[in-house]
């Protein structure tokens, strides 16, 4: 039963969802299933479409893409999300899994430095979400081994309080699968600091931070937002948007590894 289609016509359901997600016809009277609806209530169809639109734009902007919203404003983020979902109607059962292609969509849309930053930041947001929602099979309170006062979770929104148990717990779970890949990448770079990645309550791995990113990492660790840190990196490195992008991506990769930043010996301290 569960895999067989019903033996009767439920076409109105397809029409309803296709119309809602198409987002190109806000006129309920023009909707294909309007003929199924009582005339005096057809105009209310728009309420369903508006609710769907709000869910895939402002709801995602407020949560998953919070950092994008802070930097670019809810109006622009919502507008771009609406454009994305119009082209790519959602198939994912879970709403937060639906915009996985959003960064690629943004990259295809824009050529400016700001556009590249937006795409990078959207990718950061998705990685951060994965980190925060990663499964911790041990179900332990992760703060037992390391004093919180010596930790910061590097995330695109560094102002997120690092002491929340689930953030660290999730970071540990996610770190385990990412650590090796990051280590392999970072050995070719000039290391100026380290991320201390905790993949279990007792196991630590060290990830190198290239010098070009150290100012950005310090900026983040001191509580600056990602946009401020990117500006810091930009001014120090005198780099244009194209050269920033791979650096940002590397830092994002570090974040994805669940980077618990603990007393990183950056700069002069490192050189000594």
């Amino acid at each position: 039963m569960a895999t067989e289609p019903p033996p009767f016509d439920f076409k109105y359901q397809n029409q309803f969802v296709e119309w809602m997600t198409a987002l190109d016809s806000r006129d309920p009277d023009a909707s294909p299933m309007a003929r199924e609806i009582c005339e005096n209530t057809v105009y209310r169809l728009e309420a369903y479409q508006s609710s769907y639109l709000a869910r895939v734009t402002s709801t995602l902007s407020d949560t998953l893409f919070e950092a994008c919203e802070n930097l670019f404003g809810i109006e622009l983020v919502s507008q771009l999300l609406a454009g994305y979902f119009k082209l790519h109607p959602p198939h994912a059962e879970n709403l937060t899994d639906a915009p996985q292609g959003f960064p690629q969509y943004l990259l295809a849309q824009v050529k400016s430095r700001e556009g590249l930053l937006f795409a990078d930041l959207a990718d950061v947001c998705l990685q951060r979400w994965k980190m925060l929602t990663a499964h911790d099979p041990k179900q332990q309170i992760p703060t037992a081994e390391t004093p919180l006062s010596r930790m910061a979770v590097l995330s695109p929104a560094a102002y997120i309080h690092p002491c929340s148990n689930h953030d660290l717990s999730a970071a540990w779970g996610f770190a385990q699968e990412k650590t090796n890949a990051i280590l392999n990448e970072s050995i070719f770079m000039e290391v100026r600091g380290v991320f201390l990645v905790k993949s279990s309550p007792t196991d630590f791995s060290v990830i190198g931070v290239p010098s070009a990113l150290s100012s950005m990492a310090i900026s983040l660790a001191s509580g600056d937002s990602l946009e401020a840190a990117i500006d810091e990196l930009s001014s120090n490195a005198n780099a244009d948007g194209e050269s920033i992008a791979p650096l940002v991506q590397h830092l994002v990769a570090c974040f994805s590894a669940g980077g618990l930043l603990t007393e990183i010996p950056f700069g002069e301290e490192m050189e000594q």
Partner: protein, 295 residues
């Protein structure tokens, strides 16, 4: 059920209140959202929920994505996720909505109304049977708010759900706010509509807030419950007491990200007093809503 004498009034557990619940000295019955705990193996939400629910008076499990009235094959992964949650939390009630939410391979993330016909009824019963067999647990369906009416609707809302419950053995989650909203949207009397539901099959009740959208009511869950809805709940509970008194879980839902937990619990307490004791003077004139101890 964790206690034979549990307080059957509770609230929906939301992520924004996790820290407050951890710090709370006592926790009432909670409704947990299955959809927040199934994907990504539960993630941090499962960690918090597990620890909070350990101290809760009782728990009920609620979902939004079963798509029980849809034509897309039921997701076996989703059902397996529900089954794991049943084993883990041993909820009193396992519920979702009588609606469809996906079609043509697309997700709407909305609760969309079904055409209430004999065909749909047979289709839903067949799917409910499958769900109950899969889960090894009674399944419960909630009536939704509707804003449009189909020309081919041939069975009233309450009769429709009641027949599904009678023939499949599923329970009814009676959302009193949804009865109110739908009735008002189609110029029907809410109490008359409520009486169409088979109260003997009701094993859980919802109350929530709604808002006015142009000239119709919209189920938003983002405001306090209005007096009319509390009054409708009071009459429902009176009916229970007269015909067949049972402790039916009553859950207050509020998805407003700004709402403070203490305010939510105060609202629950005020509504409870209003419904159970008709406490005089508990209705705020300014808001038209019951308030705890007149505060």
């Amino acid at each position: 059920m964790k206690s034979a004498t549990f307080d059957s009034w509770g609230v929906g557990l939301r992520a924004k209140h996790f820290q407050d619940w951890h710090a709370a000295s006592s926790i009432p019955m909670l409704e947990i959202m299955a959809d927040n705990l199934i994907h990504h193996e539960g993630g941090p939400a499962l960690w918090h929920t597990s620890r909070i629910v350990e101290r809760a008076a009782a728990v009920v499990l609620h979902g939004v994505a079963m798509n029980i009235g849809g034509t897309t094959p039921l997701s076996l992964n989703y059902l397996a996720g529900i089954q794991k949650l049943i084993e883990r939390f041993k909820p009193l009630v396992v519920s979702d909505h009588l609606c469809f939410s996906q079609a043509a391979g697309l997700q709407s993330y909305e609760l969309l109304p079904l055409i209430r016909s004999r065909e749909t009824l047979e289709h839903v019963i067949e799917r409910v049977d499958f769900v109950q067999q899969f889960l090894g647990h009674q399944f419960t369906l909630e009536n939704i708010s509707a804003y449009v009416a189909y020309k081919d609707n041939s069975i009233p809302d309450g009769d429709f759900l009641s027949e599904i419950a009678y023939r499949s053995g599923c329970g009814i989650l009676l959302d009193v706010n949804n009865v109110f909203v739908t009735s008002k949207n189609f110029n029907l009397d809410p109490l008359d509509e409520l009486k169409r539901f088979d109260l003997n099959a009701v094993n859980q009740i919802h109350v929530a807030g709604h808002s006015l959208k142009e000239d119709f009511l919209f189920d938003t869950h983002d405001s306090q419950v209005c007096t009319d809805v509390w009054d409708l709940l009071r009459k429902t509970l009176e009916t229970f007491e007269v015909c067949n008194y049972r402790r039916v879980p009553v859950i207050l839902e509020n998805d407003n990200s700004e709402v403070i937990l203490s305010d939510l619990l105060n609202e629950l307490e005020a509504g409870k007093k209003f419904c159970l004791f008709g406490t005089p003077g508990t209705t705020s004139e300014s808001s038209g809503r019951p308030t705890a101890n007149g505060n």
